[in-house]
C-alpha cells in the first residue's frame, strides 16, 4: 500500500513555465515532508522540505505548498529550466519511525528549451 501518492507520473513543461507536482498522504502522524530530485545514475538529492506547522516554504525557484486538512502537498518550480529535467520524489516521515522515508513513485519532469 502506497503511503504517499504522487502525480503526475510524467510532466512536460516549456522553458520558463511553472512545473507543479502533487502528493497526498493518509497517515496523519507524518510530520516531515521532503522533496528529492534525482538525475539518471545518481542518488536522490534533497531539494526542499516542510513541516506541517507552515503552509508554504520557498527556496529560490522552488516552493512547497502544504494543506494539512486535505493531507496534500505540492512542489512548484517557477521559471522551469532544461537543467531541472529530472525525476522528482515527494516523501514523508514521522518521528516514531526514526526517520524512515516513505516515497512517492516519482514524477519525470522534462523541460523543453
Amino acid at each position: 500500500q502506497q503511503q504517499v501518492k504522487q502525480s503526475p507520473q510524467s510532466l512536460i513543461v516549456q522553458k520558463g513555465g511553472i512545473s507543479i507536482i502533487n502528493c497526498a498522504y493518509e497517515n496523519t502522524a507524518f510530520d516531515y515532508f521532503p522533496w528529492y530530485q534525482q538525475f539518471p545514475g545518481k542518488g536522490p538529492a534533497l531539494l526542499i522540505a516542510i513541516r506541517p506547522d507552515v503552509s508554504e516554504k520557498k527556496e529560490g525557484r522552488f516552493t512547497i505548498s502544504f494543506n494539512k486538512s486535505a493531507k496534500q502537498f505540492s512542489l512548484h518550480i517557477m521559471d522551469s529550466q532544461p537543467g531541472d529535467s529530472a525525476t522528482y520524489f515527494c516523501a514523508a516521515t514521522e518521528g516514531s519511525t526514526l526517520g524512515r522515508l516513505y516515497f512517492g513513485r516519482g514524477t519525470q519532469l522534462t523541460v523543453w528549451p
Binding site: 528529492y36 542518488g43 513513485r105
Partner: protein, 113 residues
Amino acid sequence: GAGVSQSPRYKVAKRGQDVALRCDPISGHVSLFWYQQALGQGPEFLTYFQNEAQLDKSGLPSDRFFAERPEGSVSTLKIQRTQQEDSAVYLCASSLVGDQPQHFGDGTRLSIL
C-alpha cells in the same frame, strides 16, 4: 569526498550467488538507511541503523537479506541466494541523527541474470 560512497557501482551476479554491497556514510553521521529502488519507482525502505544497532529491519523483503554495521560507520548489505526479483538499485543514506535530512549515495545497480 564528503558524500555517501557506495561500492560497487554496478554488480552483475548469477541467480543463486551471494552478493555484498558496501556503504561508507558521511563521517560522523549516526543514522544509516538502506533503500531499494526498482526501475521507475521510488525508493523503498529496507533497514535502519543508529550507530552499530540495527533498530528497524522491517523493510527487508526476506531472510535472504542481511545488513550489518559492526563499528557504527561502514555498512554492508548482503543478499544470499540472489533471485531475479532482487535486481534493483540499492541506495544508502546517512544523517546526523534519525530525524535530520538524509544524504544519499549514488547507489549500487544490481542485476541478477
